[in-house]
Every structure is written in C-alpha cells, then in structure tokens.
C-alpha cells in the first residue's frame, strides 16, 4: 500500500515537470540507443557469418592463410585431399566436394564513384549442393564453360554492372549476369559466383583457394583433420565451415563492441550528470513537500526510496525509449568492409534478449547513479527546517 503511494508520488512528480523529465530521459534514451545499436551491430555481424557456415561442411585452406582469398591449393594437393574416404558421396555417387577459387574484385558502387572489394567465388554445381541456403531467385544458373555469373542479392542492388542482364568486365572478358541468388542472411548473399575453370583462366590463376566438402559422419572430423594436417605433401589446414566463418567476425565484432562501449561510457557521464541536475532540483523545489511527508509519518527510508524510485523510473523510461528506437534498426542493413577479409559484407542489426536486458539494466544504473546523491540529500533533511523552507 505504502509503496503504491510512493510509486504514484514518484510517477506524478515526473509528470509534473514534463519538459525536464523528457529532456533528461531523452539524454539517457540516446545513450541506451548508442549502447544497444553497437551491440546489435556486432551481434548482426556475428550472426551473419555464423549463418554462412554449415556445421556439416569442411573447409580446407593453405596453412597459415587466414582467409580463402589468401590461400592457395595446387591441383596435386587437391587431388590428394579428394581421395580421403571420409568425404560423403552425392546421389550420383560423386563426392560432395567442390574445389573453389575465391578472389577479390574492386567494383563501383551504384550512385557514387566509391569503390569496394567484393568476393567472387568460382565453383561448380557441387558448390550449390553444399550450400543449400543459396537459392536462385531470378534468371537461371550459368551454363557450364561460359562467362556467365550469378550475383548475390545484396551485391546486385549495390554495385554497378551487377544487376540481372548487365555485364562486368574482368580479366579482359565480359561476364554476363544471368541470375540472382538469395542466401538469406548469410555472407554468400554478398558474393558473386562463377564457374571455377572460367575464373581461373581469366585471372591466370593456377591454384585453387579452398576445397569444401561434406563428411560422411560428423564424428570423423578429428581423424580427417589429423590425416590431412600431418601429411607432409600437403601444407593445408582443415576447419569446420561454421568455425571458419565465425572466426572472420571475431576481430570486427570486437572492434564494434569496444567502440560502442567507449562511446556509451563517455555519453553516460553526460546523461548521469543530467539526471543528477534534474533530481537535485526536484529535491530542492520539493523541500516543503518532503517536510510534510515526514510530518505525516513517512520515514526517512520511504523518502529515500521515493526519490530513488523516481530516478530509476527516469532511467528506465529513457531505457525503454532508447531500446524502442533501436529496435527499428533491425530493418536497416549495413554494407561495409569487413577488415578481416577486406571484402564487402552486408548484415543487419540484430536484437537479442540479452542485448535488451543489458541495455535496460544500464539505463537503470544510469538513473540510480543520477538519483543516489539527491535522494540521500532528501532523506537527510530535518523536518522542521524543511517545513520552514520557501
């Protein structure tokens, strides 16, 4: 009962000074927005790259190469890897394996003269079978042994020459876009796919970048890994596809989180000061009220609680608004260069329950941080003096 009175007292007080409340909450809301959006960005990046890799697939790249782009696998090495008995077979009895070439090309953005690096992947039909997420949405698949390409939906929209029916000039040849594909919220949606032999010929590249295959049984991974990595004729590294892509988000996700945290800390200082000012003047203008409450029999503890509640409410309100605003960011996709792979990647902000809780908890802490000092000031007042105050 008592707490209900206190709660409504706190709430009405905030309502009574609307402009100040709105300004203070807005300050906190924006800090929460900054915190939530940077966490959501890092989360979205990780989510996209985690979704790119499949747990059943295995990636083989050259030892020491951190990405497919830097890797090189000779035809002889590829032939040895292909003989591994752990590799699964497809419906026609062919191994579910693809030798692929991955290179970066610089493309012009649409509507500006800015450039970015885009991944172009050379594969075969098995490449598609290994990535069931990749689905053709428009046009058709490239005919074998032609300079035809299919383009991920995120790239088709953003880069010149990448729309359906358009042509790209690469390696002294014209490449016709014959289809568009969608790989959902995965990194493949930011790639261009072509025929592996055509690509190697055009770029005069004698080596593959990676070998992708599926395992018969997932439990055989460790044995296969040991087999390939200890073979002195192969200087190769074996990774699960899921892990390989997850690693590519590590550096940048960390960077985004650190950046977001530093910005948040700096801005929260400002917001907390704002809250202190607001709460402090709330206490100052209500000295008489506090005296009256005390005279009515409310204890010091109740006064402390009332003001802390008011401050927490102020913070929480800000937190809710900030989170509400940030939740709209889920509709936004960001297209930027992943420093680790040096290539364009499109991903969207992703909100998770954990992020929402973190953001709201932070807003409460900010509110309480701002209310602590004024609340103690209020509860420490002498009844007689408070009643006498102007």
């Amino acid at each position: 009962m008592l707490s209900a009175i206190l709660l409504s007292y706190s709430f009405r007080n905030l309502m009574a000074r609307r402009l100040t409340t709105i300004l203070t909450s807005l300050g906190m809301a924006l800090v929460v927005f900054v915190l939530a959006s940077s966490l959501m960005l890092a989360e979205g990046l990780e989510k996209t790259l985690v979704e790119t890799g499949s747990a059943d697939n295995v990636v083989v790249i050259r030892k020491g190469a951190t990405t497919e782009v830097l890797s090189g696998i000779t035809r002889e090495q590829a032939a040895i890897v292909e003989t591994q008995p752990e590799i699964a077979l497809g419906a026609e009895g062919q191994p579910l394996l693809a030798r692929e070439v991955v290179v970066l090309i610089t493309l012009q953005r649409r509507g500006s003269d800015k450039q970015s690096n885009v991944v172009i992947r050379g594969g075969r039909e098995q490449s598609l079978r290994l990535r069931p997420k990749v689905k053709l949405v428009e046009g058709r698949l490239p005919r074998p042994a032609t300079a035809e390409i299919i383009v991920g939906k995120n790239i088709a929209r953003r880069f010149k020459g990448c729309g359906l029916g358009e042509t790209l000039r690469l390696g002294l040849r014209e490449w016709r876009v014959c289809g568009l594909f969608d790989a959902g919220n995965s990194g493949f949606s930011s790639e261009i796919w072509a025929d592996v032999d055509q690509l190697m010929q055009a770029f005069r590249r004698p080596v593959y970048s990676s070998i992708i295959f599926r395992l018969n049984k997932a439990s055989e991974f460790e044995r296969l890994k040991a087999d390939i990595e200890t073979n002195p004729r192969l200087t190769l590294e074996v990774k699960r596809e899921a892990e390989y892509y997850a690693e590519q988000s590590k550096w940048m996700a960390k960077f985004l989180r650190i950046l977001g945290a530093s910005l948040t800390v700096i801005f929260s200082l400002g917001a907390v000061i704002g809250a202190i000012i607001t709460m402090n003047s709330a206490v100052a203008t209500r000295t008489r009220e506090i005296g009256t409450l005390r005279a009515l029999g409310f204890r010091r503890r109740d006064i402390l609680l009332a003001f802390l509640l008011e401050a927490a409410l102020l913070g929480f309100l800000g937190g809710l608004v900030g989170l509400f605003l940030a939740s709209f960011l889920q509709l936004v996709t960001i297209s930027t260069t992943n420093f680790q792979t040096f290539s364009e990647l499109t991903f969207s902000f992703a909100l998770s329950v954990k992020i929402a809780c973190q953001a709201l908890a932070f807003s409460l802490i900010m509110g309480l941080g701002g209310g602590l000092f004024p609340a103690f000031k209020a509860c420490g007042m002498n009844i007689a003096e408070a009643l006498r105050a102007g």
Binding site: G27, L30, L104, T106, I266, G270, I273, N280, S281, S335
Partner: protein, 385 residues
C-alpha cells in the same frame, strides 16, 4: 560596475552544486565532441598525409592481384615520372595475430626518395647493404622493445613460411605526419625466395608508387600509365595517393558516419539539459529581478545580467574542457596507437568549443531574460508573496 560584477558571480554560483553540475555537463559534451572529432580525423589521417605529387598504380581487378615487375621500365619512360618504387603487402604475423602491424616488401632506393623518413645515415646504409635486413618505425620498435640487430620472425599469411629479418634501422617521421608503426624489408629478398618456392608468384609486385615532377601533371601521367597497359593481361588503375588512401577509409565509412551522427545528437541533448538548467535558475528568481527593477535597473541591464550569468557558466565549461582535452587526447592516443597510429589534436576544435559554449549560454538565457525584462514589477513581486 564592480558591484554588478560581484552580483553576477554571486548569482551564477549561488547554488554551488547546481552550477558545478551544469558546468560539468557542458564540459562533458565538449570533451565528447573533441574526442570524437579527433578520432574521426585519425581515421582520415593517412589520406591527409599523402602528397599531391605521388601516384599509386595497382591492378585494376583489385589490390589482391599483382602487377608484373616488367611494368617498372615502361612506367619510367612516361613523361613526367620522376621517381618510382614498388612493393608488396606482406601481411606477416609477428608471433600472434593480435600483434598486427603493417609490413611491406619494398624497393628501398626509390622508397626513401619518395618518402621523407628520417633514418640515421649508418643505419640506412646498413639496411641498403644487407638484403635480409629490415627497418621499422619508432613506435613499432617501442611497442615490442626491439633493438638494432635483433632478428625478427614474421609468419607469412600470403607468402607461406616463417621469414627472418635483421632489424637494421629505425625510422621516424620527418616533416610530414607519416605512420611510425610500419615495417619495411627488401622486396628482392621476398622475390628470391619466391623464385624457389612458388615461381609463378615471383617477379610480381602489388603496387607501384610514382613521383610526378609537377603536381599539375598527375592526372595526365595517371591516364598515360593506364592507357599503356590497357587490354594487357594486367590492366592498371592509377590514382593519386590521396584517393588511394581514401578508398580504404570510405570502405568503412558507413560505420564512421553512423557514429558521427548519433554522437552529435547525444551531445546536443546534453547541451539541451545544461541549457534547461540554466534557464530554470533564471526563472526561479523572477522575484529578484523585480526587486532589481524596483531599485532602478532598466530592462536592458537585466537582460545583460542574465545573459552574462549564463555565459559565465557556459564559458567555464569551455575553459575546463579545453584544459582537459590535452590529457584526454594523449591518453586515448596512447591506448589506440596500435589501431590508429596518427592521433593528433587539431586547433579547430577549440574554436568549436568556444562557439558551442557561447551558443548554449545565449540560447539558455535569451527567453527567460526577455521574460524577466518584460514582467511587470507588481506582478512579479506578488508571485513570491
């Protein structure tokens, strides 16, 4: 006059705690802006330091594709080309991935001609003589505690294997803001090794850097170079060093722009809270202004008093922010120097501080001041009764 000044300061700091908080929030907002701007400047620093007389030539497909070494002599023959050097991004890892720093294989004679690095003469000579040696920037050497003569091993990511270098020299920047955390070694050393282990990758370079005799010739020279290699197996893309550097920055521009936008809004809100507080303290004292009016202060004088009071608070915030900016920027610069090697304060920031705090002071005071100047004495006095 002195009496009025006294009144001014007494009023401004009547509520010490509130005045202190208001000043502090102006300070925090300004500091946040200063730090942010310096951070963004640091992001663009590479482009700022580039010379208008240097061109960068690379494979038009993308930076990961090399160019034949044979292009060097053809480029040299183009009119306006004064100096040329070439090199490759080595991308080696020192012990662990988190120790990242930029390392390049370069042709040293041309490189030292084109870039104003300061290296003691005997160190430079030692480097030029020994093909297995390397030079490193002052900051990089400090970071890992290297000494001249140390053997440094890099694990290749692009070029497989472990590569050993002898540290022959330490460079520092000359007059221009060059990055002091890079590592250079002889391209010849890399090439000799490649000839043995991966012959198809030998005699290829990632980029040429070209010095042009006059700044106004850069466009023509760049076009002439690209024209020379048009329809060849490796077509080139030649641009000024500045736009080359900027192309790296613009790749991650989306994030930078977002940070900039959000930060500006937050700073504005903090400022608005501060302005609101200042306005509040003027409103609270309506009765006092009436008393002053009764004593014979004209409306103009009242406005000046209120404006000045608010400006004192705002400018105090500005002064504290200015004083704190130096230690703050140097602390952040030290923490971030492995990521952003050039982290330097610009003088323009202080002009902004001054303008912003002046604006906050005026905006906060203007409405309550006009109201206080206009309010009829009797009404204002009645209100406090």
């Amino acid at each position: 006059m002195i009496l009025q000044l006294k009144l001014l300061f007494k009023n401004a700091f009547r509520r010490k705690f509130r005045a202190f908080l208001t000043i502090l929030s102006v300070t925090v907002a300004l500091l946040a802006f200063g730090l942010l701007q310096t951070f963004i400047d640091a992001w663009y620093a590479g482009a700022e330091a580039s010379s208008a007389r240097r061109l960068v030539c690379r494979n038009s497909i993308s930076l990961t594709f090399p160019l034949p070494l044979a292009y060097r002599d053809k480029i040299r023959q183009i009119e306006g080309v004064e100096a040329i050097t070439y090199g490759s991004w080595f991308g080696g890892i020192y012990i662990e991935e988190k120790n990242f720093f930029a390392n390049f294989a370069i042709e040293p004679h041309g490189y030292f001609r084109l870039y104003d690095y300061k290296i003691p003469a005997e160190q430079k000579e030692r480097f030029l003589r020994d093909r297995r040696s390397a030079v490193a920037g002052r900051r990089l050497v400090e970071r890992f505690g290297w000494r001249i003569g140390d053997i440094i091993t890099l694990r290749g990511t692009i070029f497989p294997g472990n590569w050993e270098f002898v540290l022959a020299g330490i460079y520092s920047r000359g007059t221009v803001d060059l990055d002091e955390s890079q590592f250079f070694f002889h391209w010849d050393y890399l090439n000799q090794a490649l000839k043995k282990i991966m012959p198809h990758r030998a005699d290829m370079v990632d980029f040429y850097i070209i010095g042009v005799s006059r700044a106004d010739l850069t466009t023509e020279v760049a076009q002439a170079i690209d024209q020379t290699f048009k329809n060849s197996l490796a077509e080139t893309l030649t641009e000024t060093e500045r736009s080359f550097q900027l192309s790296f920055v613009t790749m991650s521009e989306a994030i930078i722009k977002a940070i900039q936008l959000i930060s500006l809004v937050v700073i504005l809100i903090i400022m608005a809270v501060a302005a609101n507080t200042m306005a509040m303290s003027v409103r609270e004292r309506t009765g006092e202004w009436a008393v002053l009016k009764t004593l014979g202060f004209g409306p103009r004088k009242i406005i000046v008093l209120i404006l000045a009071e608010s400006l004192i608070i705002a400018l105090a915030g500005c002064i504290i922010a200015t004083a704190l900016t130096f230690p703050m920027v140097s602390t952040f610069g030290r923490t971030l120097r492995n990521y952003l090697p050039i982290f330097r304060l610009k003088r323009e920031i202080f002009y902004f501080y001054l303008a912003a705090s002046f604006l906050v002071g005026v905006v906060a005071a203007i409405i309550p001041a006009c109201r206080a100047a206009r309010v009829p004495i009797a009404e204002a006095l009645r209100r406090i009764a």
